[in-house]
């Protein structure tokens, strides 16, 4: 559109030395001094006048207070952003810790007091229930008369774990064991239990899955996203076929 004239003009300014250009922007070029840059200098003067540097005193009154407040906040944060946070977290941590210690102490006392009797499950039913519930908090399973059927189902996988966990991932072992607990055939088991249990990382979650299986809730459950990612479904089946019967 501009033809070769435009290109020539551009070449002319490309070849213009930097000092001349700097003089141009500093307003030290006039049409008399430099015919080539004179008109451009005129334009820059027009532009300079069209957009004069305004005094910002009126704006200062509204902008500065906000800036100074923000600056003081920033400065305050940088000086003390460790101590308040630590001060805030510590009591919460202390509370949780104290709570945990109380439960552990009670469980330990109960275990020491009733020891072998509780382990054998020969205590009176309410007492056995109370002790079993208390020590369950610290991960010890004792016969609990309050959870007759399901506790039995839950305990089976636990006892099978060592046999299943032969170099297999923990979750695979749990899948196998929970399926063994249900006593279903391997094919139907993988469809129902595996889907529910494949992405169970811990024993407590496996217990929940087993319960779901017992009540018939789990078979409709779809495989979790983690199981899908890892493709545990296929592995779960094969490992299950080999290990569950044990």
């Amino acid at each position: 559109m501009t033809g070769f004239g435009g290109y020539r003009d551009m070449r002319r300014f490309s070849n213009t030395d930097d000092a001349r250009i700097e003089r141009l922007f500093d307003g030290r070029v006039s049409a008399d001094d430099d015919a080539d840059l004179g008109q451009v200098a005129q334009f820059l003067r027009d532009l300079d006048r069209a957009y004069p540097e305004e005094q910002t005193g009126a704006l200062e009154a509204s902008h500065l207070p906000a800036m100074i407040e923000a600056a003081r906040l920033s400065a305050g944060h940088s000086q003390s952003d460790i101590s308040p946070a630590a001060g805030f977290r510590r009591p919460a941590f202390k509370n949780v810790s104290a709570h945990g210690r109380a439960i552990a102490a009670f469980a330990l006392a109960a275990l020491l007091a009733f020891g072998g009797a509780a382990y054998a499950g020969v205590l009176p039913a309410p007492l056995q229930h109370a002790v079993a519930t208390a020590v369950q908090a610290v991960g010890i399973d004792l016969p609990n008369p309050g959870q007759a059927d399901t506790s039995h189902v839950d305990r089976v996988p636990a006892s099978k774990e060592p046999a299943v966990g032969n170099g297999a991932p923990a979750s695979t072992g749990e899948v196998g064991s929970s399926q063994a607990a249900t006593g279903t055939s391997s094919t139907s088991g993988t469809t129902g239990v595996n889907k529910g249990g494949q992405d169970l990382p811990s024993q407590s979650e496996a217990v929940t899955a087993s319960k779901g299986r017992v009540t018939g809730a789990n078979p409709s459950k779809k495989a979790g996203p983690r199981a899908k990612r890892r493709g545990v479904g296929a592995r779960g089946k094969s490992s299950h076929h080999g290990k569950a019967p044990q």
Partner: protein, 185 residues
């Protein structure tokens, strides 16, 4: 050297939230920043100016450099705020060089002189419209912010060579447009 150490003192005080330091920073840079924002036809240049300085306050802890570096950084923040505004405006973005965006220049009292000024301003606007946004940006940063080619390159995120090329094209374009319609004051 003394000036540079004064600047470092100012910077340190500003980091600590000293009112005098931020007042000094604001008075030093706000007129040029406001001019730059107006030149680009920002819709609310005064509000945008406030945003720019708040951003400077928030990010000052991460700044380290000389007074020239600070000036460059101030305009980098202003440039980024403008780009944000343009992005927000999206397709509704209007041509940002309008006669309304001219700062209110009081009349001289001489009718003829005022008329000539108005013509010169109109011509300046017409020439500006012929430039690409990138060329205008380079021009404003060179003229209003008084930045060097290297500093402009840092602000707009291009290489100095690219900025020089933009500058050459802009000047060539201006020269051609001015030749078409000369107005002498």
């Amino acid at each position: 050297m003394g000036e540079e150490s004064d600047f470092q003192t100012l910077l340190s005080a500003a980091r600590g939230g000293a009112e005098w330091a931020w007042t000094a920073v604001y008075r030093e840079y706000s007129p040029a920043v406001l001019r730059y924002l107006r030149g680009h036809g920002a819709r609310e240049p005064e509000d945008l100016l406030g945003d720019v300085f708040l951003q400077l306050v928030r990010n000052l802890a991460g700044f380290d450099g000389t007074e020239r570096d600070f000036r460059t950084w101030v305009f980098m923040v202003a440039h980024n705020r403008l780009v944000d505004e343009w992005r927000r405006a999206g397709r509704n973005r209007v041509d940002y060089v309008t006669a309304d965006s001219l700062a209110a220049v009081g009349g001289s009292g001489d009718l003829e002189d005022d008329a000539m000024r108005r013509m010169a301003d109109d011509r300046a606007m017409a020439v500006l419209r012929r430039l690409t946004p990138a060329q205008r940006d380079v021009l404003f940063l060179r003229l209003f912010a008084r930045l060097t080619v290297e500093e402009v390159a840092a602000v707009v995120g291009r290489r100095p060579g690219a900025v020089k090329a933009l500058q050459s094209r802009a000047l060539a374009r201006i020269r051609r447009e001015m030749s078409k319609n000369p107005v002498s004051l």
